[in-house]
Amino acid sequence: MPDRRTLITLAVLVAAVAVSVAVAELSGVRLIDRVVTVMCINLILVLGLQVFMGNSGILSFAHIGFMGIGAYTTALFTLPLQMRGMVLPNLYDVLATVELSPALGIALGGLVAAMVAAALSFPLMRLSDAAAVITSFALLVVLHTIMVHWSEVTNGPRTFFGVPEATGLYQAAGVAVLAIVGALAFKESRTGVLLRASRDDEVAAHTIGANVPVLRWRGFVLSAFMAGVGGGLWAHFITSFSPNAFYLKETFVILGMLVIGGGATVTGAVVGTIAVTIAYEGLRAFENMLNTEQVFDGTVVGLTEVVLACAMIGILVLRPEGLAGSCEIGATALFRRRPQPTGERP
């Protein structure tokens, strides 16, 4: 039975998602609807990254590669049969006859991402620090190269189009809520607790019998599953995309959300996603305004990323634990009605 604090955390975070959905619904503006949908998808990706990074303390660059796997998997299996020849002229015959519903396709995308992660990552989990980061970066490059060049199933560097539109606000929000539950459950599970112990002191975790690579591996596989599902949902939202959608730029945005919110907690992932989405959309609107009003001679591009990068550096220097701090929202003073009865410490 999860403790009271975790349940409060869950309730507050789900409420945050619900409020966002309500705002989108009540405004009736299509743009806001789309922004909140993307926010919910990003939330799934950020939570996925938090599951691995927040608990193990290891930075992973490969995350967005798994998002790509999820997106391409569902795109491939849900593409209407009559469109296959047009989108993927060189598709293998075996695959040319299967067509799944988007829901199944997204689930399959998550599974394939998780399976790829499970198969590839086990030996990588022994590494720490810089070696771990460089291998995960290398993994991202490998996945990206494959997406760019495996024309038979990805249409190569060109746009993959014709994915059925199936992800709406409610689907995205529903899965985001599941992702919050999943991330909290993993954090409070035995694996999660031991993994966090290993993050703080790897040697000590060994002495209490924790097999650190196995713990990390479990986190990594769950993380890849969430990335795959997020990628699948995104594919059915955007309906056409190319491999460049799953590379360093997206990595930067998702990592930025987690870092700004605070990587150690699920609350941080949610806070970061919401805060960065608002800031991002605001800046983009500002950028567009500058461009339509022709304030400057040329077009303004990149301002959004410049500000986000500055915010990331600023946060890491001034408040390394992130906007949300180092405790889950349910454990903060806001919800502490009275001192804990087990008052061994003053």
Binding site: T135, V142, V306, L316, V317, P320
Partner: protein, 296 residues
């Protein structure tokens, strides 16, 4: 015979660039145990410096010198912005700040210059060719090799014969002890970043000389190259970085001639898989670095 010479010059000129790139990454990594993701952007900075100086009355060599100095300035700036404020915190924090700084520089170039590619001035010498034993070789390739030899000689002299160089080598193995002998930590670190910028600056002249233009994303490929080369050679060994650079060039040029076209496009996937395998098999790389060390 002609083919052998062609192959050798290709490997040596490409390897020279790779080796210098790798060295610039390792000199920082060796001392701080931190990967500088903003390293590729130093090439970009040098490139845009050349672009902005184009059209001034300066001779090319002067422009090149300014470009190298700018790369050094930005190398040191990376340290001040992305490393120094978070050095004591966590490894992950520094990796993220340097990644963020890399994005910052790239998008600043997008914002203030242009997303489109810009021509950089190259000296007339670069486009000439010479004939060696019946093989026509671009003079640029020979100049690349010569420049690398000169820079490596300078670098070796600096590390072997000057007190600062000795201090840099010492700091790579025992940072705290080096400080306890009176060597200021910040001096060592700033010097490492300046040297890193110098190497990137020299590389940029030849790298951009091959392509002829600069775009905001130009730093990614050299960064990846430096990653692979350092992993092959040993993350913490300076000679290892040089060996790794030339080895990677050998692998690349061989794959280019040996692989069928259909597989060639997956070359990056092959080389990066090699990186992963190598890191698993020998986390230290092929050449081991100095004994042990701590970072504070």
């Amino acid at each position: 015979m002609g083919q052998v010479i062609q192959f050798a010059i290709d490997v040596l000129s490409l390897g020279s660039l790779y080796a210098l790139m790798a060295l610039g990454l390792v000199i920082v990594y060796g001392i701080l145990r931190l990967v500088n993701f903003a390293y590729g952007e130093l090439i970009m900075v040098a490139g845009y410096t050349l672009y902005l100086l184009d059209g001034t009355a300066l001779p090319w060599l002067a422009m090149a010198a300014v470009a190298i100095v700018m790369a050094m300035v930005f190398g040191v700036l990376t340290e001040y912005v992305a490393f120094r404020p978070v050095r004591m915190k966590s490894v992950t924090a520094v990796l993220i700040t340097s990644f963020a700084f890399s994005t910052l520089l790239q998008h600043a170039a997008l914002l203030f210059i242009s997303p489109r590619s810009r021509l950089v001035p190259t000296p007339a010498l670069f486009t000439r060719t010479v004939e060696i034993a019946g093989v026509v070789v671009p003079l640029r390739n020979l100049l690349t090799i010569a420049a690398a030899v000169a820079v490596l000689a300078l670098f070796t002299f600096l590390l072997r014969r000057t007190v600062l160089g000795i201090a840099l080598r010492a700091a790579a193995s025992q940072f705290r002890m080096t400080r306890m002998l009176g060597v200021p930590a910040n001096l060592v670190i700033t010097s490492a970043f300046a040297i890193s910028g110098l190497l990137a600056g020299v590389v940029s002249l030849f790298w951009l000389g091959r392509i002829g233009s600069v775009v905001p994303g130009i730093g990614l490929e050299p960064l990846l190259v430096a990653f692979i080369a350092t992993v092959i050679g040993g993350m913490r060994s300076l000679p290892g970085a040089v060996v790794g650079g030339y080895l990677l060039a050998l692998i690349d040029v061989s794959l280019n001639t040996a692989l069928p076209q259909a597989l060639l496009q997956f070359r990056d996937a092959f080389t990066f898989s090699l990186v992963i395998v190598l890191l698993l098999w020998r986390p230290q790389g092929l050449i081991r670095g100095p004994a042990t060390g701590q970072r504070t």
